[in-house]
Symmetry: C2
């Protein structure tokens, strides 16, 4: 792998604290690849050969059953995905495809597991990352089971607002994918946006404006135990 990418990867929480020699060893077996838009990176059910790191672009994790597809998460730089499958040496539960032109680092799963055993700092980082992933999915489940589609959309917008600080949100993905992620149909997402207009939400293309955050929050009732992305 070209050394130029090392710094990006090293900055990741997962690799930041590990021994330099171990990091170098990991990088030796790894490589970086550029993928065009809409390329299938992995398919659910396959066995895990590489830990993937998104260096640039973005990746959609999705799952299928009975000819339906649902979007599970979007991975943005710089972070990893399919860590759990790598650790357990088990089949992927989700498929992944690039949403746009992306640069992905591939680190052999075997090396990750081997160095885990010898590098305590790396082990702790992996545990932290996994715990974080776990908690994210639990929050997601709570969102799905406890909220209506309108409430899910409202809280999604507020989360984006909190992340960027701006009251104008750029969806940065197709509405159909957002709909799938939120567990609804594109038609219903369209109607849900309309349903939020009494609370000051206006739509123009992929730009969503929150007229008054307090009003939207009064409806959405965000909770730190569902919507706080940090903890």
């Amino acid at each position: 792998m070209p050394e130029s990418h090392h710094a990006d990867i090293r900055r990741l929480d997962l690799f930041a604290e590990m021994e330099e020699s171990n990091f170098k060893a990991l990088m030796r077996g790894s490589y970086v690849q550029n993928f065009p838009q809409r390329i299938e990176l992995i398919m659910e059910g396959e066995t895990s050969d590489f830990l993937h790191v998104v260096l640039s672009g973005s990746v959609d994790l999705y799952s299928c059953w009975n000819n339906q597809e649902t979007s599970m998460a979007t991975i943005r730089p710089v972070s990893t995905f399919i860590l759990a499958a790598t650790i357990k040496d088990a089949p992927y539960l989700m498929s992944a495809r690039t949403l746009e032109k992306s640069r992905i680092a591939l680190i052999p799963s075997q090396d990750v597991r081997a160095i885990f055993d010898t590098d305590a700092a790396f082990a702790r980082a992996i545990v932290n990352e996994l715990a974080q992933c776990y908690r994210t999915v639990v929050k997601n489940t709570k969102d799905l089971k406890l909220r209506s589609s309108l409430e899910r959309l409202a809280n999604y917008l507020l989360r984006q607002h909190n992340k960027t600080g701006s009251s104008v949100i750029d969806l940065s993905m197709e509405k159909r994918r957002l709909a799938s992620f939120l567990g609804m149909t594109p038609e219903n997402l369209s109607r849900a946006f309309k349903g939020l207009s009494p609370f000051g939400v206006t739509v123009s293309g992929s730009q969503i404006k929150i007229g008054d955050v307090e009003t939207l929050e009064a409806f959405a009732k965000p909770s730190v135990l569902i919507d706080n992305m940090q903890s």
Copy 2:
């Protein structure tokens, strides 16, 4: 803690491979407590002081939002819960209550984190457990987003069938809790059982009989990437 419980805990994957001295150190700070039925063990939002191990009985993990409650999982002996919160030293995302008279071991979170850093076998076990938990929740999400309530119930019955090997399933929990776990109302669960009768499912109290597994499978279309509890 009375030594008599040590063996039960030691048998857990999480503790089986660690150094004896470290295990003893963990146990020194721990204690075992008996709880009656329907006792709140932890509340979501609290900070994590103890890793909990269910030695006997059973525990319901559930979450609330906006005056609604949903059951997230049932923990049966012998296994742990709230590992992720313990590791991250973060607030619980779920509440826990005993479903029946239960014996619970409480292991100080601080000790778990400390020994994690010094015992590689323990670290690997924790990572495995967390990865397992993560994958379980992901499967759960796929179940929720990709299936109708009737399909969720059918696949739940088939999973129980695979676990016990028997074609007569004892629900071993209130139907209302099963309904909550499956993401539906008790009324709808009742109707869903009726809806499965064309596929050979008969109900008498908490005993569910699968008349013909193949017929039910033809409807439920179970998938290893959702319903296999092992991988």
